[in-house]
């Protein structure tokens, strides 16, 4: 590959012209094809933002190997997802119910009693974990969902923030 003479290079100081804009269009098209954003990501973000709660701690997917599987729609088999935040690890197992809904079993670590809300495409659901940190939603509508672990009672002063998971597709 021969390198063009530097003297022939278009000036870096010149204003953008039509060729520049076309080149940038070409780069955009290239990456839109080579590395597209997941089509449902904006919808999941909109869903999360509806919380509008500033006193939150955001949990992240803990296991990289699982990440590709999480947004997949219509996966019928059971799967396990782990979320980590600074104060809490949330593990959930998602199973398909015969009626088309999903069953979600979860565990909190360290084990503790917390109020846990599941935002769904329909009404939010609410349960409480037991002393071992276990909780279960027997029937959750398929679609976008998000877990919110509410602050514990006042006697546990330091656990004052809600922990939310990224929105996921059940």
């Amino acid at each position: 590959m021969t390198h063009p003479d530097p003297g022939d290079w278009p000036s870096a100081d010149a204003a953008l012209d039509d060729i520049d804009l076309q080149t940038l269009d070409g780069i955009r098209e290239f990456f839109q094809t080579a590395d597209p954003m997941p089509a449902d990501l904006p919808e999941r973000i909109r869903f999360s933002l509806a919380l509008r709660d500033l006193e939150i701690e955001v949990a992240h997917l803990a296991d990289e190997e699982d990440q590709a599987a999480v947004p997949v729609r219509g996966a019928e088999h059971s799967r396990t997802v782990t979320f980590d935040s600074a104060s809490l690890t949330i593990m959930i197992r998602i199973d398909a119910n015969a009626d088309g809904t999903a069953r979600v079993d979860g565990w909190l670590a360290p084990p503790q009693r917390r109020e846990i809300e599941m935002k769904t495409v329909a009404d939010p659901l609410s349960v409480t974990s037991d002393e071992q940190g276990r909780f279960a939603f027997a029937s959750v509508p398929r679609g976008t969902a998000q877990l919110i672990v509410r602050p514990a009672g006042e006697r546990q002063g330091e656990a004052g923030r809600s922990v939310v998971t990224p929105a996921l597709i059940l």
Partner: protein, 205 residues
């Protein structure tokens, strides 16, 4: 701007841009007042840009999703200081980039397997004649991009997704030198153009 050229793609896009800035500004002020739908429209409009920012910083697809969720949540507490489309785009790009660096610094490997877009050379066996021309253009661009320093690859990838009226703000935030009247070509784009020009007619494939 040039209204005569509305039939032609890029010109049409630019002709619509002033409207876009005003529309984004009003969406921001509606979002600040608590309008979730306005906020949602902003998310839909700018997430594809932020996706490329996060991926260009070397994140896996899963990490990029997490970072976008985090950045948009953080925007909620910064809306008060943001009035214009330029300020919004600039803040979002810089915050996404910083958050991406933070996540990547947390012990993750530099280049995840799904990040290797450089191996995504367009298919060599094309169908139609149009496909041949398209593939040739893409291959030339891909070949030229690959020869740029990685910093230039990242910058051009980001800037290509920035709405045009916001070029100047984003360029300034990213530390790209720009002139006093508006965005200039800059070193990266000038180099890419030189490489593309140098490739013409001498590509053995």
């Amino acid at each position: 701007m040039d209204t005569e050229g509305e039939e032609h793609g890029p010109v049409t896009v630019r002709a619509n841009q002033p409207d876009r800035s005003a529309r984004i500004a009003s969406l921001v002020s509606a979002a600040r007042a608590g309008d979730d739908d306005a906020l949602g429209q902003i998310v839909t409009e700018l997430s594809p840009l932020l996706w490329q920012v996060a991926r260009a910083a070397g994140l896996s697809r899963g990490d990029a999703e997490d970072v976008l969720q985090t950045v948009w949540m953080r925007l909620l507490s910064h809306l008060d200081g943001i009035r214009t489309s330029m300020a919004l785009t600039g803040w979002l790009v810089v915050t996404t980039r910083r958050e991406a660096w933070r996540v990547r610094g947390a012990g993750r490997k530099l280049l995840p397997a799904d990040q290797d877009w450089l191996s995504a050379l367009p298919a060599a066996e094309p169908g139609s004649e149009e496909q041949v021309i398209m593939d040739d253009q893409r291959r030339a661009l891909w070949t030229a991009m690959r020869q740029l320093p990685s910093r230039c690859q990242e910058l051009l990838r980001i800037v290509a997704f920035v709405p045009r009226p916001d070029y100047a703000a984003v360029a300034a935030e990213l530390g790209i030198p720009i002139g006093s009247v508006g965005p200039t070509r800059g070193r990266c784009l000038a180099k890419l153009r030189a490489l593309l020009a140098g490739d013409q007619g001498e590509n053995p494939r």
